[in-house]
Symmetry: C2
Subunit: 351 residues, 2 copies
């Protein structure tokens, strides 16, 4: 099949149903989540993850709180505010998480049921936005790589696929659209240490899409780019500053450096809601530092001497000048050519 | 203690004694190797590894063959030639391996015992060369970073330490010398996927040297360099082309790109024998492609869906223009400033 059998995250019978991404690719298990605390824990432990998926999850989380309050005869307005607060503290970098939470929380002003309806709308909006991003990205690549080979070799990092959203990915949405046009020769998927979302999730998705692919360690990408084996890089984004600096999964920056060195396009595929006009540049994007044992252990086995200290930043910032273009559902922003990402908007609150 | 309790590789009672590096950091086990086939297998499986260690191992391997032939009443000249042939096929990228083999094989012309003596000399030469590299590298860093902080934060990749040679490292030799001068604040050690030599070996050595260190995933390095958290990068080399292009463990190239972007020194520490004057540039250095399961499995656990294909280049090439300097036991070669690495020598034969 061309996509997961069920949506990555959905709203069914006033509850969230989401695939447990920590169990992939081994097991395809769907979680039913009925309360905010369980959701917050699922987000912290990356059972639910991905830039756009977090936006939908944040919004649906506020809806969960409203429904549970209504069932218990409690105050849904107060419950929505509390949920917004708890959920905003789960992951500090992802812009969409805050956007989803804020959007549904703001809709409470129109009544609790209106807020729940707004949350449910996020699902369809995500699919529509990512579908548009995919087509626009494929168009842009056709243009940027015109006169070159008939089929391209792409590099991607982490998972910016259907599993990072609802049903269609951003970076993998672009690849899927290009594949549909018969123009994907191969995708090189970076494994994405420490949590291996590339190995576990992207390879799983690419196999389902029927796209020819190979797995590489993250640090092999630059050498392959340097040897001319890759035609373009496409990644997602967790937050984009007003000037076009891009926070994305740790490792993205070095792919951008390699792409610039080799003179190949480096595309960022992300919905408009990823752009944080309140962040003037990448230096004001908070970077989540995760637990050391993600680095020092694998599958319960130590990879380093006992007691070793580790640093574990989950994201890095790619400067706008290295980004050929950011592709959103509305436009192509040619950041390396000096175009800014931001319409002016309020700053996303930092938990 | 400041160094491993025993040498990484040594010659004892006409046999090789070497620490089994695949068992570190869990167990410190020394192998006694008496025949060429066992040695070749130990090299292929990385029980014996490291740029300089391979040079010594290659030379001692030819000596093993001579001694076994003498004991069996066979022809030591023929045995040395056969051993040189077998050992040269074990790892295609490392220049020192071929140099060590060639040097001892050539000495057979002066008689089998002279060849064995030449092999044993490689051990002391390696220690002397690396000691000189360490001091010269520390001097150079003092110069390049003059006027900056009193103590520096270093980044290194893979293991170019005592475990990559006999008793003193190249990149870690520089760090050890700088540490001795009280100028190392911290070393960030890249774990070095897929085989985690950084996590397993470099952290083990740094702990023994008493150097403050933290482990990071390889792809976190660029972001930390970009945020100004690192003062310099120092790595070893497996082969250096005449123009100064450097083949080293996969992942090195992206550290060099990040260093250039941030304007910090990128040093390569390697003995003269690593320079292959017969390779005009990096494109003529053969890059070893290792088995896919090094990428798709860890500690016997699959990291990716069953049947996924993987690419696994063990090395990459860093262009000379990104290398601030190559430090050898004899000189500082300022490659980024246009200095070439090569005196003219014959091409190292490719197995």
């Amino acid at each position: 099949v061309a996509k997961p059998a069920a949506r990555t995250i959905d709203w069914v019978d006033d509850a969230i149903v989401a695939i447990d991404q920590t169990l992939l690719p081994g097991d395809e298990v769907y979680l039913q989540i009925r309360d905010v605390e369980t959701l917050a824990e699922a987000i912290r432990t990356l059972r639910i993850r991905g830039a756009m998926g977090l936006g939908v999850a944040g919004g649906l989380g506020v809806a969960l709180a409203i429904r549970r309050a209504q069932e218990a005869g409690a105050d849904p307005v107060r419950a929505a505010a509390d949920a917004a607060d708890v959920l905003a503290r789960t992951r500090p970098t992802a812009a969409n998480l805050f956007r989803g939470i804020e959007r549904v929380h703001a809709a409470v002003a129109d009544g609790p049921d209106a807020a729940v309806a707004t949350a449910v709308e996020l699902i369809a909006e995500d699919v529509a936005a990512n579908t548009a991003i995919g087509e626009r990205g494929a168009d842009l690549l056709g243009e940027l790589l015109a006169g070159g080979r008939e089929t391209f070799v792409a590099l991607t990092h982490c998972n910016a696929g259907a599993l990072a959203g609802v049903d269609v990915g951003t970076a993998l949405g672009v690849i899927a659209a290009l594949h549909h046009r018969g123009r994907v020769g191969e995708v090189l998927a970076c494994e994405t240490r420490p949590l291996l979302q590339g190995a576990r999730l992207t390879c799983w998705e690419l196999a389902r899409l029927g796209v020819n692919h190979s797995l590489i360690v993250d640090s092999a990408a630059a050498g392959l780019v340097g040897r001319g084996e890759i035609d373009f890089v496409v990644v997602g984004a967790d937050r984009i500053a007003a000037n076009g600096d891009v926070a994305n999964k740790v490792g993205t920056f070095s792919h951008a450096l390699a792409a610039q060195y080799a003179g190949i396009p480096f595309l960022v595929a992300a919905p408009e809601m990823t752009i944080d006009a309140g962040c003037p540049d990448g230096s004001s994007i908070p970077i989540e530092e995760r637990a050391a044992d993600e680095v020092t252990q694998f599958a319960g086995v130590s990879t380093a001497p006992p007691g070793v200290r580790a640093r574990n930043p989950a994201f890095d910032v790619t400067p706008a000048e290295l980004v050929t273009a950011i592709v959103t559902e509305r436009r192509v922003i040619r950041t390396a050519a000096g175009e800014r990402a931001a319409p002016s908007r309020e700053r996303i609150p930092v938990a």
